[in-house]
């Protein structure tokens, strides 16, 4: 009995030793392959964005020394947010146990181990969601030199009108840095898409918008309609398709440009880049309207050489309740530490993100794992620290020099972008995004009293709220700084027109066109005033030029048709009316206008055809059915006419014209 007891005891001891050995001596097959497949191969696969493949034991062994280095230093996988300061979707931080396992594996000779490794994941070079509905591409391949500092370039990717002739909603997007024959996977570090709704980048940079406008960040003119940017369209090497949450597609209109902001890293040999963007549409327009908000303090960025601990801060009080969906911290090469948090009305602190060792090469948008509810009155904070000493090895200046805010990589920035979804407005309440925009812009003015962007946007807000006098004041303040800005002159004209001072408005629009004859907003607004004040000749001339330059602009086609019709030039009106109809295929209005014009021209068949199109698109308008009945009756189609009048009366029993027409049949 005693002997048996001893055997049992030995058995237990041996088992415990085996267990310890398994933990201490991981092999590729038993522990490491699953860690690598989970954390590394999404980039490190054949044809992937990383420089080498880690899919097999032989490949992983070849790179095992580097795997040890970069996991110990936490350089890889690329993930900057500190643990416990915000929960993010797609968190790429390796667990301590995984890092320890790699260390144990490498230092014990990187053994393959017995048995078989799990199957490696399979990656496809095709579009992740299948063939896109629309692919837009850089107009030309652009060279990237073999050496030198990183390049930050902005490329305009025009959306071909032939492929986008109406507003579409984009539910998903995928960026591919490479095109057939151009492999740019290794040279592209990250990319960001900005929607330019007014072709402003092309206008500002006529010479180089195709071959790349230098700059880490680029400003686009978002136009006169209040529709703030709403989505982070960000790509990094492990990105595949960027799928928007349900109800949150983003809008793409005919004539919009996509601007691709690219961070390109020389590889040691000459490369070329020609990126493509695949877009996936949905028929369901957005039902939720997020917005991008920014905290920043570029005005305070004036960093003395040698200062290793320069701090900027900003805060913004939320006027409405929001959900935070994502954050995008951004600085250049002197940025070291980034803190962002929210102070709730009850004083509680909620971390948004903490980055203890900023590295622009690994920058990213961070989407929250769950939307974060913040009530109205919450204060958002950012606090960024910069190191402009020689000890900061990433410092672009040797020796260090004074650095201020700017768009070049050797300048600095201190931005924290947040994607927020405001609580929906109750019926009769204003769009909550207007209150957010106002809070944001007033915050900018608090830091920089003559901030041009803030003044302009506050003026536009005043216009939207009907406070034209305030808008006029703000536009004149802007013009005191920059009297030759055609856009501001035009906006001042619009404010004056809204105040009823049409003669002064006309003067401003003409002044804007003198400054920039190609500025289409000024031409359109001047033509609109001309039409109301019987200067049809000037209106026709302006609109003819405008529609020639921008044939996809439905509003200009409509206005030109109205000008011709008002001038009695019915035949001339037909061309812009048909263009308008093609540009707005779901809109019954161009067909109503065509039916009337054809009717006045005595072309009853064409008029009837157009009126049928009207009721096909708008089935519940009683007057449309009555008009169709009249046309059918004139064409001798009494039975059809009777049905049309009856349909009109079904929809509106009080429509006396339809009742009278029915009685005449």
């Amino acid at each position: 009995m005693r002997l048996r007891g001893l055997v049992l005891l030995l058995g237990w001891t041996t088992g415990a030793m085996h267990a310890q050995t398994a933990v201490a001596r991981p092999t590729w097959n038993n522990q490491i392959a699953p860690i690598v497949y989970k954390n590394c191969t999404s980039c490190h696969h054949a044809g992937g964005s990383a420089p080498f493949d880690l899919s097999t034991y032989a490949q992983a062994r070849r790179w095992s020394a580097q795997m040890l280095d970069v996991t110990q230093s936490r350089y890889m996988p690329p993930w900057l947010p500190a643990e416990g300061h915000g929960a993010f979707a797609g968190d790429r931080r390796m667990s301590d146990a995984e890092v320890a396992a790699i260390k144990a594996w490498v230092t014990t000779g990187a053994p393959e181990g017995a048995g078989k490794a799990p199957a490696a994941p399979i990656y496809s070079s095709d579009w992740a969601l299948g063939p896109p509905d629309l692919v837009v591409e850089m107009p030309q391949a652009v060279p990237v030199p073999a050496s030198g500092t990183d390049l930050f370039l902005n490329f305009v990717l025009p959306v071909p009108l032939a492929k986008l002739n109406r507003t579409r909603w984009v539910r998903a997007m995928e960026i591919k840095p490479s095109s057939p024959g151009v492999n740019a996977a290794q040279v592209t570090h990250h990319a960001n898409v900005i929607i330019d709704r007014t072709e402003s980048v092309r206008r500002q940079h006529p010479a180089d918008w195709q071959r790349g406008v230098p700059g880490m960040d680029i400003l686009v003119d978002s136009g006169d309609d209040f529709d703030p940017d709403s989505h982070f369209l960000f790509w990094k090497p492990d990105s595949t398709a960027l799928v928007e949450p349900s109800g949150m597609p983003w809008r793409l209109d005919p004539g919009n440009d996509l601007v691709l902001n690219m961070h390109l890293k020389p590889t040691g040999k000459p490369e070329t880049v020609r990126a493509r963007i695949g877009l996936y549409f949905t028929d369901k327009p957005a039902t939720e309207r997020p917005m991008l908000l920014q905290l920043e303090n570029d005005a305070a960025l004036d960093i003395p050489p040698g200062d290793a601990h320069f701090v900027i801060e900003d805060e913004l009080k939320l006027p409405v309740a929001v959900q935070v969906l994502g954050v995008y911290p951004h600085a250049h090469y002197l940025g070291k530490r980034m803190e962002a948090w929210a102070t709730l009305p009850d004083g509680a602190k909620q971390w948004l993100v903490l980055i203890e060792d900023w590295d622009i090469d690994r920058q990213s948008v961070y989407r929250l794992a769950q939307p974060l509810d913040l009530p109205a009155g919450t204060v958002l904070h950012m606090r960024y620290t910069y190191d402009n000493s020689a000890a900061n090895l990433r410092n672009p200046h040797d020796p260090p020099v004074r650095v201020k805010a700017g768009n070049r990589s050797e300048d600095e920035m201190g931005h924290l972008w947040l994607q927020v979804l405001p609580a929906p407005a109750k019926p009769g309440e204003a769009d909550p995004r207007l209150a957010l925009e106002r809070a944001w812009m007033e915050n900018r003015l608090r830091k920089s009293p003559e901030d041009q962007i803030a003044l302009y946007n506050l003026a536009a807000l005043a216009t939207a709220e009907g406070d034209n006098a305030q808008a006029e004041t703000l536009y004149r303040r802007l013009l005191a700084h920059n009297p030759k800005d055609a856009r501001t002159v035009t906006s001042l004209g619009a404010a004056l027109a809204a105040e009823g001072n049409w003669q002064s408005a006309q003067q401003q629009f003409r002044a804007a066109l003198a400054l920039d004859p190609s500025y289409s907003d000024a031409a359109f607004d001047l033509a609109s005033i001309d039409m109301r004040h019987e200067n049809l000749a000037e209106a026709e001339q302006l609109l003819t030029q405008l529609t020639a330059a921008h044939p996809q602009d439905a509003a200009s086609q409509r206005l030109l048709a109205m000008a011709y019709a008002s001038d009695g030039l019915l035949g001339e009106a037909l061309i812009p009316l048909h263009s308008w109809g093609q540009l707005a295929p779901a809109d019954p209005e161009p067909h109503r206008a065509l039916a009337q014009v054809y009717g006045q021209m005595g072309q009853a068949t064409e008029a009837l055809h157009e009126q049928r199109a009207v009721v096909a698109l708008s089935t519940s308008n009683a007057s449309d059915w009555n008009d169709l009945g009249v046309m059918e009756a004139r064409a001798g189609n009494k039975l059809a006419a009777k049905k049309d009048f009856e349909r009109a009366l079904e929809l509106d029993p009080t429509l006396s014209a339809a009742r009278a027409n029915l009685s005449k049949l």
Binding site: R62, L68, V70, V106, G268, P396
Partner: protein
């Protein structure tokens, strides 16, 4: 310092005696001379076709090669990793420095002689009689500090400085810092830490 010099010379001598072949050219021919008789100095750049740090250092290696090639200095790109193929090396050289001369260290002779451990790494040798003596072994420049941390541009161009010192007959400053890059992999060798 004296002892270290002696070790290096001994190591090279040993290889020269027992292995007359230093490596293989991409066209398959064995290399029995590290440099033409006219060259008193040779620079070995240890590189790899698949190492991004090595690739990004090629423009600097090429610049230094072009600066000194006409001054009696020979430059060799040494591909030490087993698994490199002559075709792959030819293609790589054509892309990164078509005028440079490459050799495959297919038997590990140069790697053992020089103790190179990563790519990129540079070894500068000076002819001493019938032998070659190591005068520098280390980083090409100081752009990379560690994997994931690099300067926007190198502040110290070590190989350029060393060759300049050798040609001027000045004392060579010893190497500083640890070479940063991709470990040289030989079959059967445990990863060195």
């Amino acid at each position: 310092m004296n002892a270290w010099w002696m070790t290096a010379i001994l190591a090279l001598t040993t290889e020269a005696v027992f292995a007359q072949v230093y490596g293989t050219r991409p066209d398959g021919k064995a290399i029995t001379e590290l440099a033409p008789a006219s060259a008193q100095t040779v620079v070995l750049y240890f590189v790899a076709t698949d190492c991004p740090v090595s690739n990004r250092t090629f423009p600097e290696m090429r610049r230094v090669r072009e600066e000194f090639a006409a001054r009696g200095v020979a430059f060799r790109y040494v591909y030490p990793n087993l698994g490199e193929s002559p075709q792959g090396v030819r293609r790589h050289q054509a892309e990164f420095d078509a005028a440079g001369e490459a050799l495959l260290d297919d038997h590990g002779v140069l790697t053992r002689m020089t103790h190179a451990r990563v790519t990129p790494e540079a070894v500068v040798l000076r002819r001493t009689g019938a032998q070659w003596a190591t005068v520098y072994e280390g980083r090409v420049d100081d752009r990379y500090v560690r994997l994931g941390l690099e300067r926007p541009a190198a502040q110290n161009h070590f190989v350029e400085r060393v060759v300049d010192e050798v040609l001027a007959g000045r004392a060579v400053e010893p190497a500083v810092g640890t070479p940063v890059g991709c470990a040289i992999m030989r079959p059967g060798e445990t990863v060195q830490r």
